[in-house]
């Protein structure tokens, strides 16, 4: 009689998913466009857009283009990976495996964060090369820490998008429609405070809004976003991200139950 294997480890499943994401990335040359070529273009466009706009225009350019590049990689990529599972027909065997699907999604998101940071680094290099020197950063270490944290907040929203792709094959439509509204609304390109006031409370429901505001406080002296300073912004970002993380498990459990009820797991 064959015997069942040991209890699956969630950490191993996340590691396996991360490994798979890297393998699929390397195997598919089309990723060169969003991961390498797009950041170069975004960097150059942003540099021209902000050129001459005060002493910290380079920082604005890097943040604007960097977020544009990382946004797609980290958030959009997380949902897209699950959509690909639907298209390939691998969603059913993956859900059928004993590890909760959430841990598979986490592995992909870790990779998307890394890929997003790679895009951000390219933008930085392009803008620095175009300007002939690095931007003035009052606190480079804190900037770096917050930069990585912004990626984490994007990833937390990515989990929700991934759940939407498990829920329905039409999630891509919703993501495409909402992508740019979310991009502008969370302050990826420019501070949210510049948008109509009624949008601000909605924007604060999303972790990246807080984290980006904190990042601008740290990197642009004299910046006045929500007027709370980077410390409170960071606290807000941590709190909202924690809420997203807490509900992620529950959302995935419910979504999985829903698709097993509706029988739409194999639809693509």
């Amino acid at each position: 009689m064959m015997l069942p294997t040991s209890k699956p480890s969630r950490g191993r499943a996340t590691g396996a998913s991360l490994r798979l994401a890297i393998l699929l990335f390397v195997a598919d040359p089309q990723w060169l466009v969003p991961s390498t070529i797009a950041p170069i273009v975004f960097g150059l466009v942003s540099f021209e857009l902000f050129r001459g706009e005060g002493p910290y225009f380079l920082t604005y350019a890097i943040l604007g283009a960097g977020m544009m590049s990382m946004w797609g990689q980290t958030l959009y990529g997380s949902g897209w990976a699950t959509g690909q599972d639907r298209t390939l027909g691998t969603l059913e065997p993956t859900i059928q495996a004993p590890t909760p699907y959430l841990y598979v999604v986490l592995g992909r998101i870790i990779w998307n964060v890394v890929a997003g940071l790679f895009g951000g680094a390219i933008v930085y290099l392009v803008v620095v090369l175009a300007a002939g020197g690095p931007p003035q950063l009052p606190n480079p270490l804190l900037f770096l820490v917050l930069f990585v944290f912004v990626m984490v907040t994007l990833a937390s929203v990515g989990v929700v998008f991934a759940a939407a792709f498990v829920y329905s094959r039409y999630a891509g439509f919703i993501q495409n429609v909402g992508e740019f509204a979310f991009y502008i609304g969370t302050g990826c390109m420019f501070p949210v405070i510049l948008l109509p006031f009624w949008t601000n409370p909605i924007a604060l429901l999303f972790p990246p809004t807080w984290a980006l505001d904190a990042l601008r406080y740290v990197s642009i002296p004299g910046y006045s976003g929500f007027s709370w300073g980077w410390g409170w912004d960071l606290l807000g970002a941590v709190a909202v991200t924690a809420v997203y993380a807490a509900i992620a498990g529950s959302v995935f459990h419910r979504v999985e139950r829903h698709v097993l009820e509706s029988g739409q797991l194999g639809d693509y």
Partner: protein, 327 residues
């Protein structure tokens, strides 16, 4: 629950509801399974037959925890498929097969390694186990090739390799040889038989009667969401009228000739089919009294008459049962 039972299904109903039309305003309701009752013992190959749309894949997905039942009780390895899904998933294997379901841009080894990790195969055993299953499905030579370069048969083998990777106690195979060339299909059947020797219970759905006849000591026929038969091959033959079948062909038979055949001793059933000008009468034979000679003797005046006797096939049984259900 009897420990000898691998599967126990009681009054299983599965309803699909969907919306379509303008703004999804039109609601449709399809009852795919209508009170299915089924018991499968451990350690054998059980065949589930049925026409397209009968509910075979729906039943397989419910048994393998990929779909929730609308009502009824479904137990696999003694556990409820809804309440104990996480426990069951590490003990059952599922092979849905086909062109999809694999990561095409990476190789077979990496596909298997990913699922080995999801199934918690200990890292120290993982590579040896992958090597073992690749050898078993005869894909060792192609382990490093991207799956997108695989033929349909090779993909099917890889699906099976993934299905048995974690040493499941029960393996669900949904039409495992569909679309395969005869050689690949034969190899797949050989592989399935070898798994039973290892103690794996196989639940097999298929369209191919000869395949079920070759592999399955016991089969069930699912038609329009209901199990219309569940028996051994011998039992099914008896149910449709006999172990032997006699066929006669000629250029047309009169009704009185058909009636005469029906009244012959030992004949239990006569069914007519037309093939252009040619007509074939198929008879199920219940006792030794009916022979090709006695049938030929009752049809004088047909110099072109051809008579042959053969064993009642599963296909005969299946067609009879599905036709009965359609009526």
């Amino acid at each position: 629950m009897n420990d000898e039972l691998a599967i126990e299904v009681r009054n299983l109903v599965r309803v699909f509801e969907s919306r379509k039309g303008f703004f999804f305003g039109e609601k449709t309701r399809t009852e795919a399974l209508k009170g299915v009752e089924l018991v499968v013992r451990r350690g054998a190959i059980f065949g589930l037959l049925g026409p397209n749309g009968a509910g075979k894949t729906t039943l397989t997905k419910i048994l393998s925890t990929l779909l929730l039942p609308t009502s009824g009780t479904v137990r696999v390895l003694g556990r409820d498929v809804v309440e104990d899904a996480p426990w069951l998933r590490s003990r059952i294997g599922l092979v849905l097969g086909g062109e999809r379901g694999l990561y095409n841009r990476i190789n077979a080894y990496e596909n298997l390694r990913y699922f080995a990790d999801l199934y918690g195969i200990p890292p120290a055993e993982r590579d040896a186990r992958i090597k073992e299953v690749l050898e078993r499905v005869d894909l060792t030579w192609a382990a490093g090739r991207r799956v997108e370069e695989y033929s349909r048969g090779m993909k099917q083998k890889l699906h099976i390799a993934r299905g048995i990777l974690h040493r499941p106690e029960i393996l669900f195979l949904d039409e495992p040889t569909i679309g395969l060339d005869p050689k690949s299909a034969r190899e797949t059947r050989k592989l399935i038989r070898s798994l039973v020797v290892d103690g794996v219970t196989i639940f097999l759905t298929t369209h191919y009667m000869f395949e079920a006849e070759e592999l399955c000591p016991r089969v069930a026929v699912l038609s329009k969401g209901r199990i219309v038969a569940n028996d051994t091959m011998a039992g099914l033959r008896t149910r449709v009228g006999g172990d032997r079948t006699i066929e006669v062909e000629a250029y047309g038979f009169e009704d009185r000739e058909v009636d005469r055949l029906r009244k012959l001793p030992g004949i239990s059933k006569v069914v007519g089919e037309e093939f252009g000008p040619l007509m074939r009468l198929t008879m199920r034979v219940r006792t030794d009294e009916a022979t090709p000679q006695s049938v030929a003797d009752s049809l004088p005046g047909h110099p072109e008459l051809s008579v042959r006797e053969r064993r009642t096939s599963l296909e005969d049984v299946y067609l009879d049962l599905v036709e009965e259900e359609a009526r």
